[in-house]
Amino acid sequence: MPNPFRRVTAFFLLSLLAGCGKAEPVVKIGFVGPLSGDQAAQGTDMLRGSELAVEQAKTKEPVIPGYKLELVSLDDAHSPAQAVATAKRLAADGDVLAVVGHLNSSCTKPASAIYYEARLLHINPVSSNPEISRQKFDTFYRICATDDLQGPAGTRFAIERLGAKRIFVLDDMTTYGRGLANEFMGAAKKAGVEILGHEGITQGEKDFTPVLTKIKGLNPDLIYFAGMFPEAALLLKQRQKLNIPAKFLGGDGLFEPALIDLATPEAAEGMYLTTLGGDIHQLPTAQAFVQAFEAKYGHLGAYSSYAYEATNLALEAIRRAGRKDRAAVLASMKEMKRYDGILGAHTFDSKGDTSLRTIGIYTVHKGKFQFVEAANL
């Protein structure tokens, strides 16, 4: 009986010791996103943006003299619990001076509290829920627009361009989805449009025919879905199978080519979505990035440019701090009056949100996303 006990203890202690004794001067930027699971396509795309930024930085002067630069990427699989765990890991790692992440608002929000406690600079690329910055964490910065803009922009487009008068709203019950749906409905009610119903669907669920059948019975002009692309693809398919004539409008979570593959081009044809930002191919400041990215990875996804921007912003803050000290990095970020990135010139308000806020409208035509216009804000 003492034998297995001793073996276990020895194994345990040995493995602990194995962790000690690493003395290479290194500075790290943490990246967290959904790298596994059904949203992995978007997460990987974001990671590539970060990787490109770090790669390019390595070819220039070191960010802090004497230190090697490293990108640590962790996977939160769009699970808030895992997001908290990865946040704790990064917070505990003294080499990490800034974090870029996460993708989903439901992950970013709890993680931001961990980074705040650890006094670690947290730059968020694409989580658009406005509640996150309302927490007033001085470690939190965001470089994209928020849903209190995206929702009403969608409403305006639906009413003015699509002529919708009767709308049914669906969301995926996440922080992002529920928040965006509420913003959309708030603006719709103010405009006097009839909301026929509001239901939640669960992420990971496959069969939406019951709720879609119910929607079919109510005969709306438009179905609005605030959620992510895997569920949206299924909704589009099943809407087609049930022969529902209503138009379909969604949020930026749908802006991923895999949506069209999963839904089939026929089912996705003619759908609309709002995005956080205009057409990057038309932005002169972004062209160098677009070319470099497409040369290395082939196709450009929805979020890679934001991750690239966020990573470079973090690098700039570290560079200005000049030393491996989280407080110094935070201070230099606070002092940065303006940052000129590939998306334009950012200035950050007291909550950490950027001044650069544009919402774009896209549609799907012949199996591809097509830019329609920049939304009226």
Binding site: G37, D38, K206, P210, T213, K216, N219, P230, L262
Partner: protein
């Protein structure tokens, strides 16, 4: 759309998934009937069937929604069924047979282990994201305009019905079926009668798994996306269906499957989609507590 038409549409949709549940439930019920074991890994066999079907469709270029689509679909179902049949044989031989005399706990844990293993193996092989399954049949709408049934739904009904009929034929019309029934009734006596009990049990697993595999293909083509997680939840629901109908009872499994699909669809359509999964679990618990023999089952003997 009138309330009546709405109801009819919900009914149709519920029965469609119910038919798939029934196919999987048959596997659970057969195995439980013959060796009193809950094959926790059966749901994963169903999931593997869906992936086998996808692989068949992609590698043989069978995804063209032209006439003859049905024939190709049948071929794909056949491939998946045979593949899953072998998988069932393998699992039985390697994981369960050595534990034939072991306590129930060990067998259940082993089954859960097999379940995790298969799930993860598929995830590693095919990726964690949803995989798209091409349409095998043209997307049309039959019916009176508002209430529609798609060809795929009709095929699911037809195939399930034929398979269940076939199973009844095997169980009540062949020597193997007689052996299965005898082994289920009294394994020792069956052995004494010269029945190759081990082989009979293996065949039971094989047939049950084949049915689940067929169900997997139907499921995959119907929903057009599959994920390695599908086995766990659907398996649990199919098990509920088997228990609802009376575990060990074949017509019970079929009835239970259809009934559960119906209940789920109605709850999702008329109450709320979010609570859909609770329906299955609630039914399971209620049945186990209030009427453990299910709707059609016989009184279960008290075994320790």
């Amino acid at each position: 759309m009138t309330p009546g038409e709405l109801f009819l549409q919900q009914l149709l949709n519920g029965l469609t998934i119910g038919a798939v549940y029934a196919l999987i439930a048959l596997g659970y019920t057969m195995v439980y009937g013959i060796i009193q074991m809950i094959n926790f890994a059966h749901g994963e066999v169903f999931m593997v069937g869906a992936y086998l079907g996808l692989t068949a469709v992609l590698s043989f270029g069978l995804a063209t929604p032209a006439t003859g689509g049905i024939a190709r679909l049948i071929i794909v179902i056949g491939i998946a069924a045979i593949g899953c049949g072998f998988l069932g044989l393998l699992v039985e031989r390697v994981a369960y047979r050595p534990l034939r005399k072991a306590p129930k706990l060990s067998v259940l844990i082993t089954a859960i282990g097999v379940s995790f293993f298969l799930q993860n193996a598929v995830m590693l092989g095919f990726g964690a994201q949803d995989r798209y399954v091409p349409e095998m049949l043209p997307v049309r709408h039959w019916g009176g305009g508002t209430v529609s049934i798609t060809p795929m739904q009709a095929v699911i009904f037809a195939v399930s019905f034929l398979l269940m009929l076939g199973l009844q034929g095997i169980v009540y019309g062949t020597q193997l079926g007689r052996n299965m029934r005898a082994t289920a009734q009294d394994p020792l006596a069956a052995k004494l009668m010269g029945i190759p009990v081990d082989r009979v049990i293996a065949m039971t697993f094989a047939i049950g798994s084949a049915l689940a595999g067929a169900g997997g293909v139907l499921f995959g083509v119907y929903y057009s996306t599959i994920n390695f997680h599908d086995g766990y939840l659907t398996g649990l629901k199919a098990f509920t269906a088997a228990v609802l109908g009376g575990i060990g009872n074949l017509p019970g499994a079929m009835l239970g499957g259809l009934l559960l699909g119906l209940l789920e669809g109605m709850a999702a359509g008329y109450i709320s989609a979010q609570w859909k999964n609770v329906v299955a679990f609630a039914v399971l618990i209620l049945v186990l507590l209030l009427r453990p023999r299910g709707l059609l089952g016989e009184r279960l003997a008290e075994r320790a």
